[in-house]
């Protein structure tokens, strides 16, 4: 079981550990499918309150996509259709559950994109975050070109995407790319504490608030406010019931 995702439920929190440390937790098709399956189960489990995603081993959260699998699809169209059918990144974006990324070491490419799909990011002080794809002749393809400019200042997003150069944990914190930097020894504890806070809050309030922010971000302000009112009313009527 050291070739994919280790899933473990602790209380109300699901811990998903990318578990290919000998490959720096590179995301291959098998690992991606296991993430998709675990998150599909999580989505349909009303008793879960939070998900933490972490990487096994000392060196990396994840080095990104497993490049040894590139070019193995029978055709470009087949690759595109397979990706759209098991759309891990779309599933992540549509998940109401709050997601916490616990980052350490190398957080590159699809590894950073997975972290960007989470709501909260805590980083060990040794973290290095990068989207190195243009150095290999392609572009971030798991949301990086879209989520990074929506999370940090445009110039810094452009620098990371166009140079492929990494930022360290401190700069990531300054930019708001991660929400806390902690010693590596405290990473699990802080992620667990955040998950516990999320789990202690009213679950509907957490889910609807996440929805309001993420859906509202794509709407003109007046429509976003109307969305918020609908969601707040839904939460309030449930409380009275």
């Amino acid at each position: 079981m050291a070739s994919g995702v280790a899933a473990e439920r602790r209380g109300d929190t699901l811990w998903l550990r990318l578990d290919r440390p000998e490959k720096l937790n590179a995301i291959n098709l098998e690992l991606r499918d296991q993430l998709w399956e675990a998150l599909t189960l999580a989505r349909d489990d009303p008793t879960l309150r939070a998900v933490v995603v972490e990487g096994a081993g000392e060196r990396a959260f994840s080095a990104g996509a497993d490049i040894s699998e590139f070019g193995t699809a029978p055709s470009l169209l087949a690759a595109r259709e397979a990706r759209l059918q098991r759309d891990l990144w779309g599933l992540l974006g549509a998940l109401d559950l709050p997601l916490v990324a616990a980052l350490h070491g190398i957080v590159f490419g699809a590894g950073l994109e997975l972290a960007l799909a989470c709501d909260l990011r805590v980083a060990a002080a040794d973290s290095l975050l990068a989207l190195p794809e243009v150095g290999l002749g392609y572009i971030p393809s798991a949301g990086g070109t879209q989520l990074l400019p929506r999370r940090i200042p445009a110039g810094e997003a452009a620098r990371m995407i166009l140079t492929g150069d990494p930022v360290d944990a401190e700069r990531a914190y300054q930019l708001g790319l991660v929400h806390a930097v902690v010693p590596a020894s405290e990473l699990d504890g802080v992620a667990a504490a955040w998950a516990a806070r999320l789990a202690a809050a009213d679950p509907l309030a957490v889910r609807l608030t996440k929805r309001a922010v993420l859906w509202g971000g794509d709407l003109p302000l007046a429509e976003g406010i109307a969305l918020e009112r609908r969601l707040a009313a839904a939460a309030a009527s449930r409380r009275r019931a």
Binding site: G93, I139, S141, R150, G155, I161, L162
Partner: protein, 252 residues
């Protein structure tokens, strides 16, 4: 196109795959002649995308820019020049030296990213002078640093230094005094060493995607990714990575 800089207020030179637009307007104020020359330079660079992979925008003098010349005022100050700069297919890196006020900062904001040297001063002082920024500042500054910091700078006309600009993400790097142009060139050279087709497509994905709702933006990224899978550069980039050697991109 390489070597020899052209004379006049806008000097275009190219070294390896990095072009530099050196701006030298009279009194560091962008007049009509400078803006017209800048627009022409951008037109030439856009045509030259197969040889120029990144562009540095830099002041020839002590200040990036103090504002607009008298013949360039009146409501659409940057006019076509800043639009042409922003629309370049290649990434653009602005070297912020000295004062970047009004049109100087708006020029920098029309670039993809900025590096500043210690001693640089950045501001949009229009409101304090009873005017409204007309070179894109009210639109590009909030998109660069968020609405909250943008309103602070726009409404108070506050001047900020390089360290504060770094803190709020307006610039990416601080160079030592006199070092902004070298630092901008270093960033541009790193960009030019990546896959040139991928870099252009990445810029397009960011620029177009940010104008779309997220689901459509993600689909755009995905479709561009599939398109890139058919390029020789991606094949070379992946092979070079697996063979642990530097890639030799051909831009196709």
């Amino acid at each position: 196109m390489s070597g020899g800089a052209t004379p006049g207020p806008v000097r275009l030179s190219t070294e390896d795959a990095v072009a530099t637009i050196a701006l030298d307007p009279p009194g560091a104020r962008f007049d009509r002649a400078t803006l017209d020359a800048l627009e022409r330079a951008c037109g030439a660079l856009a045509e030259d995308r197969d040889r120029v992979y990144a562009v540095v925008v830099a002041p020839a003098g002590a200040d990036l820019g103090l504002g607009w010349g008298d013949d360039a005022r009146g409501g659409a100050e940057g006019g076509g020049a800043l639009d042409a700069l922003a629309a370049l297919p290649q990434p653009t890196v602005c070297a912020v030296r000295g004062r970047a006020l009004s049109g100087g900062l708006e020029l920098a904001l029309a670039c993809d990213l900025r590096v500043a040297e210690r001693g640089a001063v950045l501001a949009l002082p229009e409101v304090a002078e009873g005017r409204v920024p007309g070179g894109g500042g009210t639109q590009r500054l909030p998109r660069a640093v968020g609405v909250s910091q943008a309103l602070r700078l726009l409404l108070t006309s506050e001047e900020i230094d390089a360290a504060e600009a770094l803190r709020i993400g307006l610039v990416s790097e601080i160079a030592p005094p006199g070092g902004a142009v070298d630092a901008a060139r270093a960033v541009a050279r790193r960009i030019a060493a990546r896959g040139p087709v991928a870099v252009r497509v990445a810029k397009e994905a960011v620029a177009r995607g940010i104008e779309l709702p997220l689901p459509q933006a993600l689909r755009l990224e995905h479709d561009l990714t599939v398109l890139l899978q058919a390029t020789a550069d991606r094949e070379e980039g992946v092979r070079a990575f697996l063979e642990r050697r530097p890639p030799r991109f051909e831009g196709r």
